[in-house]
């Protein structure tokens, strides 16, 4: 097997605050291959965005610091690079699209200036050539009559159009990896569908790798090949999208899927959603054992999972879970008892 494009090993990013050390990312390992999409899913505060920012060296320092682990991009550890070296990687090899296109575009510069600036920062082309390329890019991301849009300021565009411009900027230097952090959360659902289609088409055409970060399981089901579920700073389950949705193993993943109202199932009006009691633990002093134990219906005394942290282990080929009580093992125990 060839080496993955990006491999994150045991990444730890902590925030050193007055209240204490917040272990926002606490031992995350993941990898993405060229041409594939990894979905990173979890609720607010689980560390999914900090993971992405750490990969790119964009975490606010201070208070944050990468205290351990490696970020290997084409075999080179990005955590050891200087700010200058990182700047060359960002944009050119790894690009990022953020949630809110209004705050990530500069409101005082035209679309043209922002695109041309990025293109010329990373490639040695004339201003005219960069302008021509800008039109091409806007056309590629589906902006109608792109040449008439070049002189516009961001506020003249709708949310969906602004996100398309952000994507055009991200693509301008043909990155190998695109990280999209909640790229459609601020958009209406019909526009979201268009932007997700666009990202997927671009990934195929450019043979890019993508990491899509979202809280929305539906978005994951739509775009991801592989999925990593995060909870309280750690990956708790990792599998192919097909396996994760068909056979979720971690009690948290199961609960999360059960808590979703169903669009295509009328029974949910009559029944109740399976709410997850309580809330995630504080990351200043996370529980010694399994971080989900306090909310887990299966955490019991005998196995001691509330005291001893479970390891992320491979249950089946390619299906990793961090729990003493994965669904398939619970089923086996039940059979054993009844037999």
């Amino acid at each position: 097997m060839s080496e993955p494009l990006l491999e994150v090993r045991d990444l730890r990013t902590h925030f050193f605050t007055r209240e204490g050390v917040v272990r926002a990312v606490d031992g995350v390992s993941l990898s993405v291959d060229r041409g594939r999409t990894l979905g990173l899913v979890g609720e607010s505060g689980c560390g999914k965005s900090v993971t992405a920012l750490s990969i790119l060296g964009l975490i606010p320092k201070p208070p944050a610091r990468i205290v351990g682990g490696e970020v290997l991009f084409r075999g080179r550890d990005l955590t050891t690079l200087s700010e200058r070296e990182l700047e060359d990687v960002r944009g050119k090899q790894i690009a990022m699209v953020f949630q809110d296109p209004m705050t990530s575009l500069n409101p005082t510069l035209t679309i043209e200036t922002q695109l041309v600036e990025t293109i010329r920062r990373h490639t040695d082309v004339s201003r005219r050539e960069a302008s021509r390329r800008a039109v091409e890019l806007l056309d590629e991301v589906g902006i109608p009559k792109p040449e008439t849009r070049l002189g516009d300021y961001p506020h003249r565009l709708s949310g969906g159009m602004r996100q398309r411009v952000m994507i055009a900027i991200a693509l301008s230097c043909e990155p190998d990896l695109l990280i999209a952090d909640e790229p459609t959360t601020a958009l209406d659902v019909t526009v979201q569908a268009q932007v997700l289609d666009l990202l997927d088409r671009l990934r195929r055409e450019h043979d890019m790798a993508m990491i899509v970060i979202t809280h929305d399981m539906g978005v994951i089901a739509e775009v991801a090949d592989e999925v990593a579920v995060m909870y309280a700073g750690q990956i708790v389950e990792q599998a192919s999208a097909a396996a994760l949705f068909a056979r979720p193993e971690h009690p948290y993943t199961e609960a999360l899927l059960g808590a979703l109202p169903q669009l295509e199932d009328h029974a949910s009006r009559v029944g109740r959603l399976t709410a997850i009691p309580g809330r995630p633990p504080s990351l200043i002093e996370p529980p010694a054992g399994c971080r989900f134990a306090a909310r887990c219906p299966y955490a019991g005394e005998p196995d001691g999972c509330a005291e001893h942290p479970p390891e992320l282990r491979e249950l089946r080929r390619g299906h990793l879970v961090r729990s003493e009580h994965p669904a398939s093992e619970r089923a086996r125990t039940r059979e054993g008892v009844s037999a």
Partner: protein
């Protein structure tokens, strides 16, 4: 039998103004362009639509938090658009609202107890002691630990704050609650807790909800009937099952097809449907 709430031909226009010193109205935007619907006692009408469709403005106009430009809003047989002052306030005892953002809709300088008691104070309900008992009851009903009455909203998470907002809305035992995106600021696991709570309260107190939201799956999980809004108009309305399973309007079809569902295999089929409907959605 007449409905608890009857809305007929509701219109709300906002002026578009120009000029720095001599402001003049150059145009009008019709946010709500003739909307009619009924809600029966104990029933939930889900009002769905994308941003700018006029769904929240409709909710505000129903409660007269914003005065409609024209049209009729009859609640418990009384025409609200003609009421003002004391009369309107009395009617509002029975019609309350829960807002989207539990961070900005609770006064940060008031304690939890005072926030929940405020409607009781405004409407002079009971003695100070009665009110204190009632506040504890209400917090208990919504699953908020009553021992925290003297704390401030910022000390609590989004889900807990939304419980405070719901307790406040329940204080006067209303018959109708307008829920304006009540769960869209919350995480999925917390969202499910609040949806379940709203359903339990409905069963217990016979509440009617006008449930306004953009998330079609959330709306389906709480609503008996659905009204789909697009550009200020209701483009389709009917029992939830019919609207979701056999939508007639082209916009409703496109809207439903756009929603990603948490099932990769099903998603592939839906993407194919989506492509057929792309024309109905203006970019």
């Amino acid at each position: 039998m007449s409905a608890l709430l009857e809305v007929r031909d509701l219109v709300k226009r906002f002026p578009v103004k120009r000029g720095l010193f001599f402001e003049r109205t150059v145009d009008w935007v019709e946010a709500v362009a003739g909307v009619s619907f009924d809600i029966g006692a104990g029933e939930t009408l889900g009002l769905v639509g994308e941003s700018g469709s006029g769904k929240s403005t409709t909710g505000f106009c129903v409660l007269q938090l914003m005065r409609p430009t024209s049209g009729s809003v009859r609640f418990e047989g009384r025409e609200l658009t003609e009421l003002s002052g004391e009369e309107l306030r009395r009617v509002r005892r029975n019609a309350q609202i829960v807002f989207q953002d539990p961070y900005s809709s609770l006064d940060p300088r008031m304690t939890v107890g005072n926030i929940v008691a405020e409607p009781l104070v405004v409407h002079s309900v009971g003695t100070r002691r009665d009110r204190r008992t009632r506040v504890r009851e209400l917090l208990d009903v919504v699953g908020f630990d009553p021992t925290y009455v003297n704390r401030y909203p910022h000390e609590f998470s989004g889900g807990q704050r939304q419980r405070i907002g719901i307790a406040r809305a329940l204080a006067l035992s209303p018959r109708l609650i307008v829920c304006d995106e009540p769960v869209s600021a919350l995480d999925v696991s917390i969202q499910a807790q609040i949806i379940n709570l709203l359903k339990d309260l409905q069963a217990e107190f016979g509440l009617a909800y006008l449930f306004i939201a953009h998330d079609l799956a959330v709306v389906r999980s709480v609503s008996d009937r659905i009204a789909v809004m697009h550009r200020g108009r209701i483009v389709e309305t009917g029992p939830a099952k019919d609207v979701y399973e056999h939508p007639k309007d082209e916009y409703t079809k496109a809207l439903l097809a756009s929603v990603p569902v948490p099932d990769p295999a099903r998603m592939q089929e839906r993407k194919a449907d989506r492509r057929k409907l792309q024309g109905a959605v203006a970019m």
